[in-house]
């Protein structure tokens, strides 16, 4: 009986078995699907969170660098100090003691300070680079000599740092003395000291003093380096891709070349730097620290990226276009230049821009060829010593002065802006010129 029962229970569900099994497993399947979706959402959330933390940290640290505390001083351009000979000679004017003007102006503002050590502290409120600003004003306009005017001058970076961090208990007065703090507070009360837009950041080059340091030199260096990279790697990369994709026979040699190009894209960039040092500087004797060498090294690095992107872009041009052109008697060359290349060009340019963006952010290979030097001049050409934005970030991140923290973050913001612009341009090109056929 139990046997018959058994057979009954097994035969009964067997008619429903498939349906039951499906129904039973449905819940499990949906649960798995839901879990999978949650994993995905969680990872995206985490990624966004990290990105936000990064951006918030950079922006909050970097924003103060775009403004800088400046002090308004009545400067009298005393002819006996500026131009004792009265000849308006450029040489004399540029060698004059402009810090004396600042000092006398400060002494007039704070007549109660008489002690020598206190006077030195008072003078230290104003940036040690401020006298250069006065010199430049005079050189631009010698008629100012003998007159008096109100000039906004940058304060010393310690003052700026103090004002930035004075709410922080642990910071206290920083490296300022009590008397300096009281002078600063008085100047602020009088409306003679305030936070103003930091033009220096965009118009100056590197400096030991944070208040006179700017990114112009690095920006120009980056531009020159990228220009060299573009001039070398775009034509070379496109030509190599066109040859490999359209003309080269498919044999073991081209396979080998292809594998090697793909591998080169994965070579650590510092190795390209070493190669550049050995070949371009030591063997060919090109100047070190120059955008020319930097561009050459970065070209080596971006070439694989450009070749791979260009080949992919050529591959995506449908063969029917080539056949159509060949079928009416176009030569191979005409087929490529008249039809294939124009269709592949947007993809090639996208790849090139992405390669350029990669090159813009590259630091390691440039360290190897000496673009890490402290360079105060804005480079005037591709043979001048220069540095680039990421290297400038690296240099400033290393500097002990507190004010360089803001400068570093601000430079990162500038670099990120350029990267976003370049990638945006790549997306735009792709969208704009993408052809459907």
């Amino acid at each position: 009986m139990s046997e018959s029962n058994h057979s009954g229970t097994t035969s009964m569900p067997s008619s429903k078995r498939a349906f039951d099994i499906v129904t039973d497993s449905l819940g499990k399947r949906y649960a798995a699907e839901k879990r999978f979706r949650i994993y995905g959402i969680v990872s995206i959330m985490l990624a966004i969170a990290f990105l936000l933390i990064l951006l918030v940290s950079i922006v909050s640290k970097g924003l103060p660098a775009f403004t800088y505390t400046q002090v308004q001083l009545p400067i009298t351009y005393d002819e006996t100090v500026v131009d004792p000979e009265g000849g308006r000679d450029v040489d004399t004017l540029s060698r004059a003691n402009y810090s004396a003007l600042i000092k006398s102006s400060l002494r007039e503002l704070f007549p109660e300070v008489t002690e020598r050590s206190e006077l030195r502290k008072l003078n230290k409120i104003v940036s040690s680079g401020a006298d250069f600003l006065l010199r430049n004003r005079i050189l631009e306009n010698p008629d100012l000599i003998g007159t008096q005017e109100q000039v906004w001058l940058p304060v010393d970076d310690e003052v700026d740092t103090y004002l930035l961090l004075k709410d922080n208990e642990a910071f206290g007065t920083g490296r300022l003395s009590e008397s300096q703090v009281s002078w600063v507070n008085r100047l602020i009360q009088d409306g003679k000291m305030e936070n103003r837009f930091n033009r220096t950041f965009f118009t100056a080059s590197d400096s030991r003093e944070p208040e006179s340091a700017g990114i112009l030199g690095a920006l120009v260096g980056s531009a020159l380096t990228l220009l060299i990279t573009l001039i070398i790697s775009f034509p070379l990369g496109v030509a190599a891709a066109v040859y490999l994709e359209e003309f080269a026979p498919k044999n073991r040699w081209t396979d080998l070349i292809e594998v090697n190009i793909n591998n080169l894209a994965a070579v650590p960039s510092i190795i390209f730097g070493l190669l550049g040092l050995a070949v371009f500087i030591n063997f060919f004797g090109l100047p070190r620290s120059a955008p020319l060498v930097g561009g050459l090294v970065l070209s080596l690095m971006t070439l694989p990226t450009i070749i791979i992107a260009s080949r992919a872009s050529l591959k995506s041009v449908p063969p029917s276009i080539r056949e159509g052109a060949l079928g009416i008697g176009a030569s191979k060359m005409q087929t490529v230049t008249h039809h294939v290349l124009p269709l592949a060009l947007p993809g090639m340019m996208t790849g090139t821009i992405i390669g350029m963006a990669q090159a813009l952010g590259e630091t390691a290979p440039l360290l190897m060829i000496g673009m890490v030097a402290f360079i105060v001049e804005v480079p005037g050409g591709i043979f001048d010593s220069a540095t680039v934005l990421p290297v400038q970030i690296y240099l400033w991140a290393d500097s002990p002065e507190r004010a360089f923290v803001a400068l570093t973050s601000a430079t990162i913001m500038v670099l990120l802006t350029f990267l976003i612009l370049m990638n945006g341009l790549a997306v735009l090109l792709r969208k704009r010129f993408e052809k459907r056929w």
């Binding site: 056949e323 079928g327 009416i328 008697g329 176009a330 052809k435 056929w437």
Partner: protein, 298 residues
């Protein structure tokens, strides 16, 4: 009986004729046995041919795609190549203007002559050859440029027009001959890819005839088109026949019957049977041909 004698007398000397040893038996069968391959049934030659193919063999790597094909292409005639998929008809068509050169690992043996000159000779340049033997592909492939530019491209690269007026004339007459002019005359500067499928294919035909070819090869020109567009193209082919020699590959037997004067049946790389279209479709001599056109395989 009569059909057999026709075939046995007309087979060329390149393909030694297949003499039925026992005529009575063949009369009983009415068709040549399906295992009989390698020698083409029917007359592969024509009087005063435009193109002649002799002992053509094609390999794709190790694959022997076409075996010993002999076929003549006549003037002002449409020759249809039919056969099941993978039988080599497209391969043969592409041999006629050396489009197979572009395929890696493709080897062509034998002789294909255009007006008596072997196009596979070393001194033959493919560029003028392809200007003389134009091709229209299965899928319409206009260039992603304007309608005008599509047609003008060929004459321009070959220097057929001396000035803009000449070029306009060539473009307009080519579009007229392909029956497209009235539909597109107001939008010649619009992209050719924006036309309908049938119009695109006629644009491709206009592009091919703009360089004044002598032979036009068509590789299933209607397979991607709807019946109405197909009918238009077929009328066009009939019209073009007056000026050009046309070779058309088609999967549609009705189409072959409608547009062609001669039909060649390919089977697994062999040219099985050639003959006037009416005869092939009403009275095929080879068993394979009969099976194919009656729809037993395909």
């Amino acid at each position: 009986m009569e059909t057999i004698t026709t075939s046995s007398t007309s087979v060329t000397k390149d393909t030694p004729l297949m003499t039925p040893e026992k005529p009575n038996e063949v009369v009983e069968n009415k068709v040549i046995d399906r295992d009989h391959r390698g020698q083409t049934v029917g007359d592969v030659t024509v009087e005063n041919p435009r193109m002649t193919a002799r002992n053509v063999n094609v390999w794709y790597g190790d694959k022997h795609a076409i075996q010993n094909v002999n076929l003549d292409i006549a003037n002002n005639e449409v020759a249809a190549l039919i056969g099941p998929s993978g039988c080599g008809k497209t391969t043969f068509l592409r041999c006629l203007n050396r489009m197979n050169d572009t395929i890696d690992g493709c080897l062509v043996e034998g002789e294909i002559a255009l007006d008596g000159k072997n196009i596979y000779d070393k001194d033959v340049d493919v560029v003028p050859l392809r200007a003389r033997v134009g091709i229209v592909f299965q899928k319409p492939n206009p260039f992603p440029k304007s309608i005008y530019e599509n047609v003008a491209y060929g004459p321009r690269i070959h220097g057929l027009a001396r000035n803009k007026t000449d070029l306009d004339e060539i473009v307009h007459s080519s579009l007229k001959r392909s029956g497209l002019f009235d539909e597109v005359k107001d939008r010649l500067d619009q992209p050719g890819t924006g036309l309908s499928g049938g119009q695109q294919q006629r644009l491709c035909i206009a592009r091919a005839i703009a360089v004044s070819p002598e032979v036009i090869l068509m590789d299933e020109p209607c397979s991607a088109l709807d019946p109405i567009a197909t009918a238009t193209i077929e009328e066009l082919i009939d019209e073009l026949r007056k000026k050009y020699s046309i070779v058309i590959v088609t999967h549609s037997m009705q189409q072959a019957a409608r547009v062609s004067q001669r039909t060649a049946y390919f089977h697994l790389g062999d040219l099985i049977e050639v003959g006037p279209t009416s005869e092939i479709f009403t009275n095929p001599k080879h068993k394979l041909t009969e099976e194919y056109i009656t729809g037993r395989f395909g």
